[in-house]
Symmetry: D2
Subunit: 364 residues, 4 copies
């Protein structure tokens, strides 16, 4: 009979629909094995300040799979290899607290950690694994830019929310002969813009992988007008860039609009279109709407499969690995390998071809 | 047996979920009576340029009740009592084209018009009625600020979309200990902010009817923090105003963000909160998401009831009236009477009391 | 300054979307007044077995407004004026336990009760009020058949779910030239069938208030076929009845299909249509889908308003009353008065007229 | 420069969310290439009665991707290799009309056919391809039981609808301490039951691939009760079977309840549970709700990718193949190869393991 383990789970980085489902799945799979399972609040920091550790039970996770956010509270609390430490005078320096994390992990007699997070968190996880911590990663990225896995939880939800928003914008754009420019998430990768743009029947999609020429975009809109379609939907990834060396358009620092930012890519593109075509043009930023709230059924299921697979990986002793969606199965990839890949939209892939076949313009 | 009439329908002003349902209902109720029914594109302008008039049939309206927008195309084309008329040199003057509208209406042998629109459109409708045009109004306002009717179509949809957005923002605000400031529609009346704020479990609601003190808002957020609730949702109507004479906060010209606008009320409020409390604060503008797309079931039904009631009013010869929701029935009110009322949130009404009882702060 | 009260809340009868929102609102409104508030599990029975009483706090009700069901657990546990009491031999008699309920209510020093429930529960509440118990009722009925209030929570959700289901059935009926017969809730009143049938673009609606002739229904379907519409949607309230004295169609005992029931009204109607017209005809029963799960925004808001209004009624000492939606306000009606009315669809009301104008057949 | 082709598309078998998106994609991809494209109504039969062929244009398919059903009308009209042909006396025989289909295809100068359908339709398509017809298949199966492709359109929608229904049933089951038995689609394969059961937090899942012992199911429910969970959700695939040789439970002939069927698997299972455990048990059949209506975003995108890929396959001359989802790409598999595989739930796959880890019982 296998050993009764004592495991813990943390969640790092931004919010993603499905986090609670991972937590539920890890808890239930541990409970089924009569293991003990604990949740570490505020990422790795919780292992520095061990008051932040809570016992997870079936009662505590009952029904949370469909609830947005994470019951482990605020998730974005820094890198233990470079912790800001401040003295009473307010002067801060960065210190490597990783040994302290490992020490506490051992002192609390944990047998393994499930680390949920984006590429930053997986990088940290890998470093801990190399220092001997037995852990399994669960990849999380709304943008779908992580390597080693077909997709991750949160992405299908984000694409669905963006598509639904584009659907709504269609009818008002059509009623008023307007151009609507919608900014969706995707700083390095254009997956959300591409998928929601296709599903939402956009006229133009601008993504980081295909630098755009604003003239080509305007040509498309004027050509549409000749064919009787006076309105248009332009979907822009936040990291979309114009062709040529100079980045003339500032992109906001993150999803949503921080109050210090005066204009993102959508606003700039809208301004250009308005000036060049004379068309009534409006912009909007979907921002946080894309990463909050209840996950789609697809993401719920994927999260639950990820969570239980992580526990099975622990059972098999497959540490320093990450669970991955290798459709239709869940597999395991070494963290080192997954971290080497920065996934981007393939510009000759069939999704881009689909968009072109549907008459969608990328401005190239 | 009653006469076989020939009627027409126009839609004025902005988009509203339910417009197509009104068109479907008018068409079907006319068809049931073996009347002829026509749709006038681009508002009253369509009666100046009579190529814009289309024959409506059951086939053309089949299934449109649940579709956003309006099949009568662009709806926002000006006031026939003050039409801009431009000469070849590009000099424009305003001309009263109302007689031409009436002349065409008669020449085309229409017996009655169903005029769908907001208070601007109802004002115009009333002037036409006074000039002898047989018409019945159907009120349309997302903001719910029209008099004479309990509510209009589009409002329930807007409140639902805003509530769903607030639900999504909750989980990400909670995960990151953030203050999220959400701007919803409502330039003169705070109904959308009030209803979605209550339904969405907001901490603060700012509406035009209750001028706010930003200090009181910040007090509420800090008090919440003492009780362990570190995040907050602030819902702001676009027409919300701070106390005191000077309007220090610029409001955008309309829903959505026009590219010339550098900051709306949400951004200003977010900036103030961030500076005064030091909390991580983000803003977002829901804008056009609130007025596009498929109507809720409530709005579908209300629109269908409005449309058939307008046809029954024509049958009874009750012109210069507007259909109105007098729950649970549909009634008729004289346009002149409805236009006198500018509906606002009652600051001592039970909805505001409900918000206060739930612990929601209005900043007063 | 007003007294600090100690109040309690119970919920009786079946599930309804919005129950938790009422509980949240009562709790928060009590908390705002620094009152104590308790939840009584399993209806009045909880006052017999006082272990079933839980202390309600803001933490316990945080976020429950959008969650289906009721945190007060099973709600359907009988009438204290006629409690089944069984001896060891398994012989049961009915006993009046109402004095015991009142005794416990006083012993626990409660100042008032908020009684949430349908007409059965309101009847019981009124009897307790007459015996001197200070209480305020909150009406609950999915079917919308309670008097004194324009509508109650749960109804909008049920109509929305039914409409969404009918929307889905349309496309499959159309793809296969089928007649789909859908049974919705409504044993005595046809409001759900009527409203969802209109919103969902049904061809036929059968309700208890308008006895139907199956021949007329079939005539309508064949006439549609002549006009090229080969498929049809028939919406049937569970209490719909054929014309004439004999009830030839058995109706199931409740929503959903109890396993002892071999056929409900939808199945019977489908069978008749199939035999008489030769058309491919299917039936389905929506059952419990209509009363479970998350409430619509409309119902969330109405429930929250009902809950806080009940607390304000207690504050004012308006006992033996029921909160009521008197659009657009919440009012109070004496329980005795509300109980006199059994609300039914008005057969000459504008909703029925709307249906007829849209070409919908009632089989009359 | 490539030849301007003239292609056609047909859709066979039952309704599936995404059919219209495939039609839109094929039309747009043809239009982009300046090809002509036609839609064949009522499956292959349309090539026998060539009045059923319509010209497809961008206008005709604009916006249909999100609409349920198929604009090519009734889809279920039989196998041209075995057409029922009836004489005036009403005597019918089966005739092979395939040569006539091919003759008309050539006479109308079509260059290729896109055949959309389930395994029956793909079988027919392969036979036509072997007789020299240039065609490409697009797989369609709600149940997800087709080989050669990770998944097909319609499946994600069906799982989502079932999950949403289960979510709703949870709250009412919980409020009343009830066992709810829900029957979902899946005659040969349990994918919908498995995925929606996991996502919807079911207690028991019964699928064709794992014969069940009703005693084990009841044991699970009683064990839950000991742990304080008095209610339960049992999800049953329509093709689920009890262990042992004799099939004692009749399964209905198809989704939905045909009026000749007195009881499906859900009703039988509910009856058994009720008798053996004494618990209040109800059953419901989701039926047609699962295959009608608007597709999820996932299915919309997959359908659009399938449709354009089929056109690219024609361009490349890859006939007698079927487009397939080989995540994350769309590939092509020979029809002969795809038809060999009858996909079933792998009983040792990670999805089943996930369910077991979550504590879900399969009755084995």
């Amino acid at each position: 009979m296998s050993k009764r383990m004592k495991i813990c789970i943390n969640t790092g980085g931004g919010d993603a629909p499905g986090l609670n489902a991972v937590i539920e799945a890890v808890t239930m799979a541990a409970y089924t094995r009569q293991w003990e399972v604990y949740g570490i609040k505020t990422g790795y920091t919780g292992l520095l300040n061990t008051e932040e550790i809570i016992h997870l039970t079936p009662e505590k996770v009952d029904g949370i799979a469909s609830v947005g956010g994470t019951i482990l509270g605020s998730t974005n609390k820094g890198n233990p290899f470079m912790m800001p430490v401040c003295n009473v005078a307010g002067e801060c320096t960065q210190r490597d607290m990783s040994d302290k994390v490992i020490e506490n992990f051992r002192r609390l007699r944990f047998d393994a950690l499930v680390a949920v997070g984006g590429d930053g968190s997986m990088e940290i996880a890998h470093r801990f694994a190399e220092k001997g911590m037995p852990l399994v990663g669960v990849p999380k990225t709304i943008d779908n830019d992580m390597g080693g896995t077909d997709t991750t939880f949160g992405f299908d939800t984000a694409v669905s929310i963006a598509t639904e928003a584009i659907d709504r914008l269609h009818s008002t754009a059509k009623s008023h002969d307007r151009v609507m420019v919608v900014e969706v998430m995707g700083r390095n990768a254009g997956f959300i813009a591409l998928n929601s743009g296709i599903s939402g029947n956009a006229d133009v999609i601008l993504i980081p992988e295909i630098p755009f020429d604003i003239e080509k975009v305007c040509d498309k809109l004027m050509e549409n007008e000749l064919h009787g379609r006076k309105y248009a939907i332009v979907v822009v990834a936040e990291g979309a860039l114009p062709k040529g060396g100079d980045v003339i358009i500032k992109s906001p620092a993150g999803p949503g609009r921080q109050h210090v930012v005066l204009g993102g890519i959508a606003e700039s593109v809208a301004k250009e279109i308005s000036q060049r075509t004379g068309k009534d043009t409006r912009s909007m930023v979907l921002g946080h709407l894309q990463r909050g709230g209840s996950p789609t059924t697809f993401d719920r299921l994927l999260s639950l499969r990820f969570g239980t697979s992580a526990v099975r990986a622990i059972e098999m002793g497959k540490f320093d690995h990450m669970v991955a969606f290798q459709s239709p199965d869940i597999g395991l990839v070494p963290l080192a390998e997954a971290l080497k890949i920065h996934k981007r939209v393939r510009v000759d892939g069939d999704t881009v071809l689909t968009a072109r076949d549907l008459g969608i313009c990328f401005g190239d």
